[in-house]
Amino acid sequence: MSRAARFKLGVIKRTVELTIDGVAVEVPEGATILDACNKLGIVTPTLCYLSTLTPVNACRVCVVEVEKARVLAPACSRKVEPGMVVHTDSERVRHSRRMVFELLSSSVDMSLVSGEVKGWIDSYGSDAARYGPPAPPAKVGERDARHAGHHHAVDGSVAETVAQPVKIDNDLYVRDYSRCILCYKCVEACGEDAQNTFAIAVAGRGFDARIATEFDAPLTDSACVYCGNCIGVCPTGALMPKSEYDLRQQGRWDEARQTVTQTVCSFCGVGCNLDLTVQDNAIVRVDSPLEHSVTHGHLCIKGRFGFQHVQNLPD
C-alpha cells in the first residue's frame, strides 16, 4: 500500500450521489451500497457481512439490482458510483434472496440464528420443505474425508444436508458444523481481520466445502489458541462455548432467565469490555461488544473462558 493511502487523518472525501429505490442519497466516496441503504433506513439482509470483517461476498443474501449491470451485486462490498441506480426490492432481488435462504435452510440447521434472520427467512417466503425430507446425517469424519470432484449422484428424493456429529475435542468450545452456512466469518476472525492465528480455513469444494483445521486435526493438535473470536462472529450457533452447549443439551439454557452485563476483564491492562451472560448467578457465556474501540468484539482465551474462578465454589 502506498504511504499516502495509509494516512487516514485529514483525508477529505468527496461525496457520491446515487439513487436507491427511487430516492436520492449522498454518501462519502468509498462507501458501499449497504452503507447507502443503511443511511436511507432500508433493511438489507446479511449473513456473511460484519462491520469489523472484510467482506467476502460468500452468502449473496444482500444482493441488489444495479441498473445497466448484467448480474446482481452484493450490497455489502460493492462500492457506490456517481449516478448509480439501485433497486433493493425488485422481483429479481427478492427471488434471489429467497433462493439463498431456501437452499441454506434446506441443508443447514438454522434453528439458532437470530430472530432478525428468522424474520428474513419468513418474509422472503423461503420454503425449505419443497426439497424433500433431509438426507440422513453424515457419519463422524465422513464429510471431512471428501475430496473435490468425488461426488455421489443424487436422486432428488431427499434434500442434501451438511448434518454431521458435533465436534467436541476440548473443554472450552464445540463446533457443530451441521449449523455451518460457510459464511467465512470464523475464518476471517481467526485470520487477518483479528486474531491472525490462521488455525482454520475452508477446505473442499462445492457442497463438500467445510471449515477445517490443517489436515482436519483436532483443535488440540491445531494452531488454535482458544481465543473464541470465531464464536463471537458465528451467526448460526455452529461455534459455541462448551458452557452454553452443555446447558442446551441438558435443556437448561433459558434466555428468559439470563442477564447480560457489560464489565471490564481483569486479566491484563488492555481493558477489554466483556458482555457477561449470566443465568442463575453463573456466567454461561462471555462476548465483547462489537462496536467498542478497545476490542472490536474480540477477546483472548483468558477473557472469554477464564471466568471459572468466580464460580468454582466448594459445595
Partner: protein
C-alpha cells in the same frame, strides 16, 4: 512521564503509526487484544521491532528481533541514541523547542558506539544500526514496553532510557507517536491515578506538597501524614528492621509473588498481625490472623478501572458474591466505621464523585458519561471535554506550553545477580497466554494449551548439559534451590533459561529469583537471576526412576 504517569497514546494510534517497537513485551501472549491493534498497524505497513531476550511469539511477527541480553536494555537504548546522533538523524528542531539537558545526554551516550553496544547487549551492530535509523527516520513511531523493562533493579532508569529516545526524535506529543507502558492488570493505571502509590495523592499530586495535602485534608476531614509512605520493597525492608509489625494486604499474594519468596514468607510470618483481604484463600491469606473474604469487583460490584490508554471504564455487577464475601469498598467502609469514622452509606459512585471533585483530570467523567462514551481517556477536566487520546501535545505548541521535557541521562549497570562459574545460566521469568500471574485466577479453567511449570532451556543447553525433555533437575540460585522438570524451547538461546510463575504449588520459581529491587520505583527484579542446573543427586534420582518404573506399565 513529564508529570503524568501514563502512556501517551491511544490503541488506535498503534494502528496508524509507521513503526512500533515492543521492548521487553511479549504482547502477543500477555496483551493479546492490544496486539490485535499492533497487527492492524503491521498489515497497514507499519514496521515492527521486538526487543526481547527470548524469540517470543511477538518476535515472530516482527520485521526485526533484537535478542538483547537480559538487563542490558539501557546499553541498547544509549547505543541507538548514539547512532542516531552520530548519523545526524536527531530531531534538532524538537530538541531545541521542547527539551532540555540534551548536551549532557549526548555526552553521556557518546561512548556507546555500535561496537561497544553490541558487546554489552549481545545484539549484532547492524541490527542496532538498522533500528536506530528506522526509528529516527519514521514519520510516526511508538515505543511500548512491559515487565521486561520494569522488573529490573534499574526499572526507572530503563524507562528513562526509552523516553530519551522519544525526545531525541520528537516521537511524543503527536498523533501516532508515543511512549507506552502496557499495564499488567486491569487497574494498575487506575491504582496509580488514584494515589495508591506511596508518594502521590489522587491525580498525581505530591504527598509532600503542603498546599495539595491541605486541599485533600479539607475534603477528607483528616490529617494526611506529610511524608512519603513506603512502597512494597521498602515495606519488606521495614519488616526486616522490625519497624513494620502489622500488614493489611488487599488483593495481593506476596507469599507467592515476591521475588526471593522464602525470605518474603519468613518476614510475613514474623509480623505481629497480618490481615488479608482477597477473593481467594491464597497462600498469603493462609498465614493471616484475619481474612476478609472479598467479592470479585470486576463482576460482583461496581466501580471503574483505567486501562493502558488511560481510558477509565466502568465495571459492573453481574453476579452475587458468594457466601459472606463483600466488595472491597464495603469492607474498607465497614472497617472505617468500626474504627470510629462513619462515612455514611457505602457507594462506588459516591467515592468516584468525591475523587472527581479532587482530581482535575477526572472531573469531567461522570458515571453517566462513562456509560455513554464507552469510557473516557484522562485528562478530562470538565463535562464538555471529550477526553484526551494522546498526551503532551503542548510540547509542539508555539510557543511551547509548560516547561521543557528533560532528557534524563542514565548509565548501563549490569544485572546485580552476576553470572559466574558457579551460576553460569541467566534465568528470566514471564507469563503464558492462557495463565495469569500466580495462577490463582487462571488455574481454575481448563486450558488445552496449559504447559507444565518447568525449567525451559534451549535445545543446545539441554544437549550440552545432557538433560532430556521431562527430566527433573535441581535448579539453584544464590538464594535457594528447587526441583523442576526440563522442557525444551527453541525460543531461547544458549545461556538463557525461562520459567513462569503461574503455579508455585508445582514449581516454586520465586525461591530462585533475585532480591534486588529498584531504588527509584520499588520494583523487584524478577527478570535477571543467575542459576545453575544440575542432575538431582544420584541416590534420589534412582528413587525417582524406581517410582517411575513402578507406574509405567
Amino acid at each position: 512521564m513529564f508529570g503524568a504517569g501514563g502512556g501517551t497514546s491511544s490503541y488506535q494510534e498503534i494502528e496508524d503509526t509507521d513503526l512500533i517497537i515492543l521492548w521487553g513485551s511479549n504482547a502477543r501472549e500477555t496483551h493479546p487484544i492490544f496486539f490485535h491493534h499492533v497487527l492492524k498497524g503491521v498489515h497497514q505497513g507499519a514496521r515492527l521491532y521486538a526487543i526481547d531476550p527470548r524469540r517470543t511469539s511477538t518476535s515472530q511477527w516482527a520485521d526485526g528481533w533484537l535478542g538483547v541480553d537480559v538487563g542490558s536494555d539501557i546499553a541498547l537504548a544509549n547505543g541507538i541514541a548514539r547512532e542516531i546522533i552520530a548519523a545526524g538523524l536527531e530531531n534538532r528542531a524538537f530538541i531545541d523547542h521542547a527539551t532540555e539537558n540534551f548536551e549532557e545526554y549526548a555526552r553521556m551516550v557518546e561512548p556507546y558506539t555500535l561496537e561497544m553496544t553490541a558487546r554489552c547487549t549481545g545484539v549484532p551492530a547492524p541490527a542496532i544500526r538498522e533500528l536506530a535509523h528506522a526509528y529516527a527516520r519514521a514519520d510516526r513511531a511508538q515505543i511500548c514496553w512491559t515487565l521486561g523493562i520494569t522488573e529490573h533493579h534499574n526499572a526507572a532508569d530503563n524507562v528513562f532510557a526509552l523516553i530519551n529516545l522519544a525526545l531525541l526524535c520528537g516521537h511524543v506529543g503527536r498523533y501516532g507517536s508515543g511512549v507506552n507502558p502496557l499495564r499488567g492488570q486491569n487497574n494498575v493505571q487506575g491504582g496509580g491515578d488514584m494515589g495508591a502509590i506511596p508518594n502521590k495523592l489522587p491525580g498525581f499530586k505530591n504527598v509532600e506538597d503542603d498546599a495539595e495535602r491541605a486541599r485533600f485534608e479539607s475534603v477528607w476531614s483528616c490529617t494526611i501524614p506529610p511524608q512519603n509512605g513506603w512502597h512494597l520493597s521498602q515495606m519488606f525492608e521495614a519488616m526486616e528492621r522490625g519497624d513494620l509489625r502489622t500488614l493489611y494486604v488487599i488483593g495481593e499474594n506476596p507469599a507467592d509473588s515476591e521475588a526471593d519468596a522464602p525470605h518474603a514468607r519468613k518476614l510475613l510470618e514474623g509480623l505481629d498481625h497480618l490481615v488479608v483481604q482477597d477473593i481467594f484463600l491464597t497462600n498469603t491469606a493462609r498465614m493471616a490472623d484475619v481474612v476478609f473474604p472479598a467479592a470479585a469487583d470486576w463482576c460482583e460490584y461496581e466501580g471503574t478501572v483505567t486501562n493502558s490508554e488511560r481510558r477509565v471504564q466502568r465495571v459492573r455487577k453481574a453476579l452475587e458474591p458468594p457466601g459472606e464475601a463483600r466488595p472491597d469498598l464495603e469492607i474498607i467502609w465497614e472497617l472505617a466505621r468500626r474504627l470510629g469514622n462513619d462515612w455514611g452509606e457505602p457507594g462506588a459512585e459516591r467515592a468516584w464523585d468525591e475523587l472527581r471533585s479532587l482530581s482535575a483530570m477526572h472531573t469531567g467523567m461522570s458515571y453517566e458519561r462513562l456509560d455513554a462514551m464507552g469510557g473516557i481517556q484522562w485528562p478530562c477536566p470538565d463535562e464538555n471535554h471529550p477526553g484526551s487520546p494522546f498526551l503532551h501535545g503542548r510540547l509542539w505548541e508555539e510557543p511551547r506550553g509548560g516547561p521543557p521535557a528533560p532528557f534524563t541521562p542514565v548509565e548501563f549497570v549490569a544485572p546485580l545477580d552476576e553470572l559466574n562459574a558457579e551460576f553460569p545460566i541467566r534465568l528470566t521469568t514471564g507469563r503464558r497466554l492462557d495463565s495469569y500471574n500466580t495462577g490463582v485466577q487462571t488455574g481454575g479453567y481448563s486450558s488445552p494449551m496449559r504447559k507444565k511449570e518447568s525449567l525451559f532451556l534451549c535445545p543446545e543447553d539441554a544437549e550440552r548439559l545432557g538433560f532430556a525433555e521431562g527430566e527433573r533437575v535441581q535448579v539453584s540460585s544464590r538464594r535457594g534451590s528447587i526441583e523442576a522438570p526440563v522442557a525444551i524451547e527453541s525460543s531461547l538461546r544458549p545461556g538463557l533459561a525461562f520459567m513462569t510463575v503461574h503455579s508455585a504449588g508445582e514449581v516454586d520459581t520465586n525461591v530462585l529469583t533475585s532480591d534486588a529491587w529498584d531504588k527509584k520505583s520499588g520494583t523487584a527484579d524478577f527478570k535477571a537471576t543467575a542459576i545453575r542446573v544440575e542432575r538431582i543427586a544420584a541416590e534420589r534420582g534412582a528413587r525417582h526412576e524406581v517410582a517411575a518404573a513402578g507406574t509405567s506399565h
